[in-house]
């Protein structure tokens, strides 16, 4: 085996194979992206265009869906409409055209803010607790280490509905029902398993020699942890945080069962956005689009660590 052969190894697929592979993969990608594109497009259609048959590929773009998403409106008699002062904004004008008056803001923004608060709160908590625990599991002799690690992982696998029953009862007793704090604690308990497993993997990759050297220089173990290990683990911590964020952001089962008002997040809210005579699909699509955008951005940022995240750190590529 000469260098020439192994450099362009015999296993390199032929150009034809590559081309066929490319065509099939790209076709699959385009097909799976259609539903997502359809969501974005529907958000800019008028309600009648959205439910037209055959489905309209091109429609006159309008912001009506977004207006309906952010406002509640009431239908008024033409006499009443005539007496109103001129419309003040874009959304105002759009709703006047439909013989409606804007009655106030909708619940979408509060729900979105709830999602933000709960997702970031639980992520921060899981990453802090997870980093500490992962370091301990990575560096120290902990009795029953494997059992503790398995126990931590198994908490994530539990069926949410089964967990929700006792949590519902417990939160009712503690006054945590439908509170952001309650949801933050609950999501943290689910996310912490992923955080510990992932971060342990990242910490295992940081050579112990670094800390040992620091400790020879007079650092204590804690100082070595803060000054040497944490900076080295930054990439891992950020990747883990994004994973926790995505889970908390997307979660539905706990949210729909345990929240109804003040702490309700966006996922249980978006499906119940209704207009006159059923679901207001452009508004739902608009709400969905705004809800999905952060995740699309994060997915692109995270693409190098995705595999690690979904296998709890077992596969590192």
């Amino acid at each position: 085996m000469t260098g020439l052969v192994s450099a362009h190894s015999v296993v390199d697929p032929s150009p034809l194979t590559k081309r066929i592979a490319a065509i099939v993969v790209i076709a699959y990608a385009l097909i799976t992206l259609v539903p997502l594109l359809w969501i974005v497009m529907t958000g800019f259609k008028s309600p009648s265009d959205a439910i037209a048959y055959p489905p309209k590929l091109v429609a006159e773009p309008t912001l009506e869906g977004y207006c309906n998403l952010f406002t509640t409106r009431s239908r008024q008699a033409p006499e009443y409409m005539a007496k109103l002062p001129p419309a003040s904004g874009l959304c105002d004008r759009i709703s006047r055209d439909r013989n409606m008056v804007i009655a106030g803001p909708s619940n979408y923004i509060p729900r979105y803010v709830n999602s933000l608060v709960i997702a970031f709160g639980s992520t921060a908590l899981s990453v802090v607790l997870g980093t500490l625990a992962a370091y301990a599991f990575s560096r120290f002799k902990v009795p029953l280490k494997d059992d503790l690690m398995f126990f931590i992982l198994s908490t994530r696998m539990m069926p949410p509905i089964a967990v929700a029953i006792p949590i519902y009862l417990m939160y009712r007793e503690l006054g945590l029902s439908d509170t952001k704090l309650g949801m933050i604690l609950l999501y943290t308990s689910v996310n912490i398993s992923l955080a510990v497993w992932l971060l342990k993997g990242f910490m295992d990759e940081i050579p112990r020699e670094y800390e040992d050297a620091a400790m020879v220089d007079g650092y204590t173990r804690l100082q070595a942890f803060f000054k040497v290990v944490l900076p080295q683990a930054t990439t891992g911590i950020v990747a883990t945080a994004i994973f926790c964020l995505i889970f908390a952001w997307n979660e539905y089962a706990f949210a729909v069962l345990l929240t109804s008002g003040t702490a309700q997040t966006a996922p249980p809210f978006i499906p119940i956005i209704i207009g006159e005579g059923g679901q207001d699909w452009p508004a739902v699509a608009a709400g969905t689009t705004l809800f999905l955008i952060p995740i699309v951005v994060f997915t692109v940022l995270l693409r190098k660590h995705l595999l690690r995240g979904i296998t709890f750190g077992a596969v590192r590529k």
Binding site: S6, V10, V11, P13, K18, A21, V24, V25, Y28, T32, V34, P35, I39, T42, A52, P55, L129, L132, A133, A136, F140, F150, L153, M157, P159, P160, I161, A162, A164, I165, P166, Y168, L169, M170, T188, S189, F226, K227, L230, N250, E251, Y252, A253, P267, P268, P271, Q279, V284, T288, L292, I295, V296, F298, T299, V300, R303, L306, T311, A314, V315
Partner: protein, 320 residues
């Protein structure tokens, strides 16, 4: 905060401010003390939010407690809840509905996912970009996106019906994916496949990339046909990874709730009523808390058992 290095500066200053005695005590923290200090908060949280509720559920599963009647007397019913769940043909039917969903969704996802991974592993130009695009659906909220699929599945106006009509010639209003008994389970399988095939693909891809080139080179020297190479090298060596993906997706789909709840809510009739939907009805609509606690424990134990096998599979992959 004039310190230049945030956290580490904080530690230094804390050491400066604290009295020498305390400082010595902190400095002298043994490794064991640090280990426990670092692990305890996590354990306490999991004890409070996972273990304590679990024990409570076990306790409740032997009673006839109803959460909507907190003042009614609670009777100890022994194993009656378990007995009635495990002999009830309706619950059994929910389990078989779950089983059918798990079987078909996992089978289809594995076949498509592995094929895609195998094609991407041919390393055509731009495969990185397309891989990232393919991965998008699995990162999105199953509930929010699942909800949108009800729009795509609308009879007459839905895009899905339109495309099927255009491809087969059958009128778009002649079938209702979510409302017809033979179609509803498939409607859910399709959305689940759309969403989670990328997951299987990603893990299979890792499996394929873990096969060292020299094995193929040796096979090439032995003049093994591509067909043989696939069956005797590619597939067996990627198998642990495929198992990993199948197990994890199996566990996830066994407890599937969000997508089904939004797409069909268990209907039409009880065609798509999976275990978690039944559990939700018993627990949060009929408020049979004791009964549903027993049901929850049954699901718990099943998932816990599968998780044991999953971790075994994880470790096997890790050693590669």
């Amino acid at each position: 905060m004039t310190d230049q290095t945030g956290l580490s500066g904080l530690v230094d200053r804390a050491a400066l401010v604290t009295s020498p005695v305390v400082a010595r005590r902190v400095r002298g923290l043994s490794e064991r003390a640090i280990a426990w200090l670092f692990i305890t908060p996590t354990m306490l949280l999991l004890l409070a939010i996972n273990i304590f509720p679990l024990i409570w559920t076990i306790r409740l599963s032997f009673t006839n407690y109803r959460a909507n009647r907190p003042n009614a007397t609670v009777l100890d019913v022994g194993l009656a809840n378990y007995q009635s769940i495990l002999t009830d043909p309706d619950v059994w039917a929910a389990m078989t509905v779950t089983a059918r969903f798990v079987f078909w969704s996992i089978l289809i996802q594995t076949v498509i996912g592995f094929t895609l991974a195998w094609l991407i592993d041919k390393k055509f130009r731009g495969h990185g970009l397309w891989t990232t695009l393919i991965l998008l659906p699995m990162m999105l909220s199953p509930a929010v996106v699942g909800n949108f699929w009800t729009f795509l599945y609308q009879p007459q106006i839905g895009l899905f019906n339109y495309v099927v009509a255009a491809l087969t010639g059958a009128p778009a209003s002649s079938f209702q994916m979510l409302a017809q008994v033979p179609l509803a389970p498939w409607a859910i399988v399709i959305v689940d496949t759309w969403m989670w095939t990328p997951y299987v693909m990603l893990i299979c891809l890792a499996g394929l990339r873990s096969i060292p080139d020299y094995i193929y080179e040796a096979a090439e020297v032995d003049r093994a046909s591509p067909w043989r190479q696939f069956w005797s090298i590619t597939l067996p060596m990627a198998l642990p990874f495929i198992m990993l993906a199948v197990l994890f997706r199996g566990i996830e789909n066994f407890k599937m709730f969000d997508m089904v709840n939004l797409l069909t809510g268990g209907g039409p009739g009880s065609t798509t009523e999976m275990a978690s939907i039944t559990l939700k009805r018993e627990a949060f609509e009929k408020w049979r808390t004791g009964y549903s606690s027993a049901f929850a424990i049954i699901l718990f134990v099943t998932v816990f058992g599968l998780a044991n096998i999953y971790v075994k599979a994880l470790n096997r992959v890790k050693s590669r």
